[in-house]
Symmetry: C3
Subunit: 132 residues, 3 copies
Amino acid sequence: MTKEFPVETGAGDTITDITDAVQKVVSSGRIEEGICVVSSPHTTVGVTVNENYDPDVKKDMLMKLVDLIPREDGYRHMEGNSAAHLKATITGISVTLPIIDGRLALGRWQGIYFCDYDGPRRRRVRVSIVGS
Amino acid sequence: MTKEFPVETGAGDTITDITDAVQKVVSSGRIEEGICVVSSPHTTVGVTVNENYDPDVKKDMLMKLVDLIPREDGYRHMEGNSAAHLKATITGISVTLPIIDGRLALGRWQGIYFCDYDGPRRRRVRVSIVGS
Amino acid sequence: MTKEFPVETGAGDTITDITDAVQKVVSSGRIEEGICVVSSPHTTVGVTVNENYDPDVKKDMLMKLVDLIPREDGYRHMEGNSAAHLKATITGISVTLPIIDGRLALGRWQGIYFCDYDGPRRRRVRVSIVGS
């Protein structure tokens, strides 16, 4: 089963914590033991899991990624968002997590991050669950 | 169920669009709702999803990766392809995507990219599907 | 089904080969055809697949990652491990692999690497298997 929900992102590079929304989809599904795949149908968005306690972790991640992959760097792609495409691939476009006892089994400090590298946009998140 | 198909890659760093071949495997399988995992059994290959409309996106991705992780950089590994190993890990060695109504559910601009960082070689792609 | 096992890591950045331990979980499970997800419940750990023949590949990977993402780099996060968080995201926090004939289907040179970027610690690995 795959369900979709929207995310409204801010300008430029932003990280949105989507943990609660994903947990809701998993909890409402009928899978007790299995896995959950959170993916993006976009090409300038990454999905990852990282610490969601100190908000500075998100800021540091975005800062360092921009530092490694600057917005302008002699790219050929006319649309001007080549850096965003590469950051999506480096981040990964999906995460896969265990479902245990009908719930997403995250570590204590883990949150699911939707990383838009080319906002602001109305984006979509896909949550697929499989198992039994 | 896992099926395999070959990919012939070019010299050095190349990206091959394998979307249609993966879609064919998914369409011929018996999974209506579930997920598809596209993986590589190699150690210098990455698999990712990105824009497959403008071919410059692929060129920019490869150019910037070589820029970040040069072929020669004081590596110890005698085989001389340490950069390729690291690029495989950074890209990721698999992607996981939803299957909806018996088909791979890609976003409008998404294509599946097989990134060989140590070609030319005859490579293999593995497509696993699970669900119901 | 998800099973967990511990990993004791060394100081700083280390890579531990967990292939055999994961294979054991898969072999003891009841899935003949499907997929295996190896994930980490931590936020400064990456999980990847790469060559486990020449140990220099691991050293080169860690060296180059530290080179790209230095431990100190003007980060805001007070805990001082922002580089470790970013390296976890760049590596990916899980890998997904095919299960064929009841066994993990790895390529000839592939091993599963547990990359701790903030050791030494007692860590946990989660192995989830789905299929039939």
